[in-house]
Amino acid sequence: MNVTVNGRQHAFDGDPSMPLLWYLRDELGLTGTKFGCGIAECGACTVHVDGEAVRACATPMSGVADRKVTTIEGLSPDGSHPVQKAWHALNVPQCGFCQAGQIMQAAAMLAANKNPSEAEINQTMAGNICRCGCYQRISAAIKSAITGA
């Protein structure tokens, strides 16, 4: 099978049940996508598959055959995605480990809905855990990315 990751096509002939997460991290060395739980509970491994946010830890390789995967490394070449810019402006991260997943989730949400309500933001982002507790800034950064302020 083939899978496209950040615009590059790769052939894969390993275990089709292997989660995309471990393929990205162990085989491609794309360690920006993080392991946090392995059961789609924390969102640290969030990537885009054909533009939609999915949890790479619970997505088998068989599920991404001939599909386009974007990881945090491929979101923008220089950190210039509006979500990344807002994150930087508001100093969102603390330890930062969950932030790739948070950013990928937020970016997918805004791609699908340019102006989510507070309730929609909370609902969509509730799958992404931040143990340092950056939620107040995550929320503010998303709102800032929406308005471009």
């Binding site: 275990d15 292997m18 991290r25 059961i39 100093n91 991260p93 330890c95 855990i129 340092c132 939620y135």
Partner: protein
């Protein structure tokens, strides 16, 4: 008999025959501390103390690029890689855009103490870092003065240049770097520190966290991200019960899993095992997934050992019974027994706080390569220097033959102070003859944690006719962290009792603290703010309970109990042994009730305390001094008819002395509210048959964005450099849970005495 325990949380203690800590050993620190420090800290008493040699921490290249060494662990507070370096840069008069940060390896002989816990980084290192920066500034000035043939007093450093004050000529740092850095370090009395009005970065909060750009682009490298050519991946099946052992195993199915290469037995260490691995059976494979599949296919027979019967519900009952009987008296002012017996009213409450797990977002992980008698390790470590020593000991090699590469920590909260995972990686690399990365799954991380202690706190307060508190008896029962280091002492250590028990600041004439016996049935470790969590919860909930009994406003009651401005010195109380004051001199960091009261007043004022709220809303207040910092928190909650809890607003007031980086202090306090909410609302690891019952975020819940405090405001008490900087990473946590539970009571009349809140509010 006395034994010096080295490396106990990298603090150094003398332990008496009974196992209780009887004295902290203070080692004198000469030159810098004596000649230069405005105030003394306990930094010099830490293992390997403080290094202030500028050559160790700063290099400047010919282009003027300044490289500052970060020698402590960066786990999200910003202290190690942003705040301490910006302090150096400021005193150095460096232009921050021309500064790079380089992480040091673990090596305390060279860098001084690297143990990043106890909220010590800025507290212990602001002055040494200032000294280092100012030393290099002087060295640059001396080199430029020599270049111009003038006296050093005729030049000054300004924004990456040296200016000749007589001629106005300027020379860049790069142009004199080689000559300057070839100079010996100036003696302490030659170095002049800046005055606060000269600061460019210190105290401003304008510097972006150093790794932030890399983090948001996915380029930041955490411990779990280490890449070493040829590395294998391993997961370990560990004994499900603490103290258990593997009896036999069958790996025939494991070896058939594609990608699995080897199965290796790791020996456990009998208690007290400090940070040694739990032991078990490791599966080494070509990738993490294969290793996990291989582990699932192992058939292992375990001997569960002496803690096989550990049941946390039964244990709770046992602890409650202990708390209802007299314990060892650990502080005794006046005669609390007599005063309670003659009190007009006695208020009694018992509080329970279960074990909790750190659940930092990055599960522990380490990569090791052992070859030719030498070991290299890449890992996220709170104590990279201490880990190096532990690894050398375990492998029977010299510390010089161990290189510990410190990578970013995806959270720590105390878990990554314990290097069992790095030892596992080293043993596995040695066994398979290749680099090995050990991955802990989330279940591994939660179920084999060094758990926060479990505790029963019972307080009896006696009130006189006028409603004034005249007696206070606090019995604390909790297994001790020290069971890691010595045969289980079954009593809280002086360190634990110094975290909110014997340092009670209240103005009560008859005050007695007792400590009952409690055995450790699992690995107890320190969790962000440690024993301040149970002690602070009990004391601060009790204040509100007394206020209710006396028909008083809880904030007024709190202010009354804090009493007049004074220094409370627990060393002057009877039966207080080895009051440790977080390892710092009491003279520099006394317990100052004026500052304690100050944060209460500030939080109350900013939170509109006393102003009306909508129905089923309530405010709660709590204050706690920990890590030498005073924090008061007001939580506002709403509890609807069905018991649904929301937190619309949190107001926190912080007095941490001089604040070097207010922006990161703000983020720590915001985060402390979120972590405080998690432990109050959900935090519980329960045990049955010795096994932790929770394993992942589905069963061990933490705060999510849709329930997190909506707004956390942070107010810092402004101080100059004359008030020593104190801890920041931990002190925000202890007051949150009691403020929350006091708010819940105010909102709906339900008093929570047992954490977590769970579904106690459901009707």
């Amino acid at each position: 008999m006395k034994t010096i325990i080295e490396n106990v949380s990298r603090r150094r203690f003398i332990v008496g025959a009974g196992g209780l800590v009887i004295a902290a050993q203070f080692i004198s620190l000469k030159s810098f501390a004596e000649m230069h420090e405005d105030y003394k800290t306990g930094a010099g008493a830490m293992p390997h103390g403080v290094v202030t040699d500028p050559h160790v921490f700063v290099t400047i290249d010919k282009n003027g690029l300044v490289t500052i060494i970060a020698s402590r662990a960066e786990m999200g507070t910003g202290a190690a890689r942003t705040t301490l370096p910006l302090i150096v840069a400021d005193e150095l008069e460096a232009d921050w855009s021309r500064v790079r940060i380089k992480q040091s390896p673990g090596n305390e002989e060279r860098y001084g103490n690297q143990d990043t816990d106890g909220s010590r980084s800025v507290r212990h290192f602001i002055q040494p870092m200032r000294h280092i920066g100012a030393s290099v500034r002087l060295m640059l000035a001396m080199a430029a003065a020599k270049h111009w043939g003038v006296d050093v007093s005729d030049v000054e450093a300004k924004n990456h240049e040296i200016i000749n004050k007589k001629t106005g000529a300027k020379i860049g740092y790069g142009a004199v770097a080689v000559e300057a850095m070839a100079l010996p370090a100036p003696s302490a009395d030659q170095v002049t520190l800046k005055t606060a009005d000269q600061f460019r970065y210190i105290g401003k909060g304008t510097i972006k966290p150093v790794d932030q750009k890399d983090i948001i682009m996915g380029k930041a490298v955490y411990g779990i991200d280490a890449k070493v050519p040829g590395m294998r991946f391993a997961v370990v099946a560990r004994p499900p019960v603490f103290g258990g052992k593997m009896v036999s195993y069958d790996d025939s199915a494991t070896m058939k899993v594609p990608g699995v290469e080897k199965v290796v037995v790791i020996e456990g260490t009998p208690a007290p095992a400090k940070f040694a691995p739990l032991g078990g059976v490791a599966v080494v494979a070509k990738n993490t997934w294969a290793a996990m599949q291989g582990r699932d296919a192992l058939k292992i027979t375990w001997d569960d050992g002496p803690h096989a019967v550990y049941d946390s519900a039964t244990y709770r009952t046992q602890m409650e019974e202990t708390a209802r009987k007299p314990g060892v008296v650990v502080r005794n002012d006046g005669d609390a027994e007599k005063a309670l017996a003659s009190a007009a009213k006695v208020v009694t409450a018992e509080y329970y706080l279960p074990h909790i797990s750190h659940a930092q977002m990055e599960p522990v992980s380490a990569t090791a390569h052992f070859a030719n008698g030498k070991l290299e390790v890449w890992a996220p470590l709170q104590s990279p220097g201490g880990t190096r020593d532990e690894l050398a000991k375990k492998l029977g090699i010299k510390p010089e033959d161990v290189t510990v590469h410190e990578l970013l920590l995806g959270g720590g909260f105390g878990r990554k102070s314990k290097c069992d995972y790095a030892i596992e990686a080293a043993l596995l690399s040695k066994a398979v003859g290749a680099p090995v990365k050990v991955i802990w799954t989330r279940e591994d991380d939660i179920q084999h944690d060094f758990f926060h202690t479990v505790s029963v706190e019972r307080i009896d307060a006696g009130l006189d006719q006028s409603g004034k508190v005249v007696a206070w008896r606090h019995r604390s029962v909790a297994p001790t962290i020290f069971a890691l280091f010595v045969p289980d002492p079954k009593h809280e250590s002086a360190l634990e009792m110094g975290m909110g028990l014997v340092d009670n600041p209240f103005d009560i004439p008859n005050l007695r603290c007792e400590n009952g016996e409690a055995e450790a049935h699992t690995r107890i470790g320190w969790f962000r703010s440690v024993s301040n969590i149970p002690h602070g919860f009990a004391v601060q909930c009790m204040v509100a309970e007394i206020a209710q009994a006396a028909g008083r406003d809880p904030k007024d009651m709190l202010i009354e109990l804090i009493g007049p401005p004074r220094i409370v010195d627990p060393r002057k109380s009877q039966d207080v042994k080895d009051f440790w004051n977080y390892g710092d001199p009491f003279e520099s960091y006394p317990i100052d009730t004026a500052r304690l009261r100050g944060v209460v007043e500030l939080a109350a004022e900013k939170s509109d305390w006393g102003k009306p709220l909508p129905p089923r809303h309530g405010r709660g207040i709590a204050v706690h001094r920990s890590f030498l910092t005073y924090v008061a928190t007001v939580v506002e909650v709403a509890v609807d008819e069905k018991g649904k809890l929301t937190v619309p607003r949190v107001v926190t007031a912080v007095d941490a002395g001089f604040i070097a980086n207010p922006e990161r202090v703000h983020s720590q306090m915001e985060g402390a509210a979120v972590m405080g909410y998690a432990l109050a609302r959900y935090g519980e690891i329960s045990f049955k048959n010795g096994r932790a019952q929770q394993g992942n975020f589905d069963t061990y819940k933490v705060t999510r964005i849709n329930e997190s405090p909506a707004q956390t405001e942070v107010h810092m008490v402004p101080h100059g450099l004359d008030v020593p900087s104190s801890g920041i990473g931990e002190p925000g946590v202890p007051p949150f849970a009691p403020a929350l539970c006091n708010a819940i009571f105010a909102a709906c009349g339900k008093r929570i005495r047992s954490l977590p809140i769970g579904d106690q509010l459901s009707t």
